[in-house]
Symmetry: C2
Subunit: 201 residues, 2 copies
């Protein structure tokens, strides 16, 4: 039984969205499963004394172009959301509520729904009304979803996830850990595939 792939992501991270579209198929091809972990990049940036790449104007210009090009390269639909980036704690708390109460499949379906809503239709996951409507579209009970993101238990669960990410050395997203080996970035896809296919290199 091969170890699952840990996948740390933030709902507002374009490269996490793109990776979210290919990681399951790649994992399945190599007999692995994926364990998603929603986190807040702002918290891990801060712990590592980093800032978001898009907070630097010159880097932002490149990044905005690269997000779209990288999506086209992976044949993933992408429409740059505005405003961007957004706070994603409510979407992440719903993720942990689903993951801990229903399991990985339900949580992964919500991750996919949230990513696609934000990065193809600009649905503002930070706005409670929009997030509630999205929960309904995704087949969840909208009231229960709202109660989850307001519940101290799931707020605490997300904090713990951030702490665990920091302890694991996560400073950006997507961040994968496979057999103890860290891979940061959607652009580590070729190295991840080689690792899965033939082991450490």
């Amino acid at each position: 039984m091969k170890a699952p792939i840990d996948f740390y992501f933030d709902f507002s991270s374009p490269y996490s969205y793109i990776a979210n579209e290919w990681i399951d198929a790649m994992a399945a091809r190599h007999g692995r499963t994926v364990q998603r972990r929603a986190i807040l990049l702002g918290v891990t940036f801060s712990a590592a004394e980093l800032k978001s790449p898009v907070s630097y104007p010159i880097k932002r210009d490149y990044a905005m172009r690269d997000f779209q090009r990288s999506a086209r390269f992976e044949r993933v639909p992408y429409v740059q959301p505005d405003p961007f980036p957004i706070p994603t704690q409510n979407a992440a708390r719903v993720f942990w509520w689903l993951k801990d109460s229903e399991g990985e499949t339900a949580a992964a379906a919500w991750a996919r729904a949230g990513f696609r809503a934000f990065f193809t239709r600009g649905v503002p996951l930070n706005e409670p009304a929009a997030l509630k409507a999205l929960a309904g579209e995704a087949g969840l009970d909208p009231e229960a979803a709202e109660q989850a993101w307001n519940n101290p238990m799931w707020k605490e669960r997300l904090k713990r996830a951030n702490d665990e990410a920091i302890a694991a050395g996560v400073f950006g997203a997507p961040h994968f850990v496979i057999d103890g080996e860290p891979f940061w970035g959607n652009d580590r896809k070729p190295q991840i595939e080689q690792w899965l296919a033939s082991g450490p290199f």
Copy 2:
């Protein structure tokens, strides 16, 4: 006649070294030539209000691992130099002296020699005696090389190269520009290859 590939690099950049090992063969496969441009990353970091990734301890830990893994992935020999990073203005001035007086081929040979010396044998390019010896090994006149890096003309040429890089939006290395399209990072290799093979995507 297809446009050449602009390749901005710093002699102390591991990902630039790795890219330097594959870019010529890839360019040749697609009927392109490469125009190298030695710069000082410290200057472009500063212009973009960035710092080196290895100046952040948590990111550094990952980067030091990723440099070596990325080199193995590309089957390029790599021995982490120490001290690292180092100031590379003298090596870069020798590059511009060769490029402007003898042409791209001589400059590219020096780039290869400098990168390989630093990243496989830890030759400290920042130490005049070591750099002079390396110039001799690389078939240059060591005295002429030393005169070049002390010559205000080549100091000025490197400054101009840094200014041109900043004007072109360069904030890290390796940075490639192909048909006006910017690609930052050794890890943009698959996208670069697709662009060269089939054009814009």
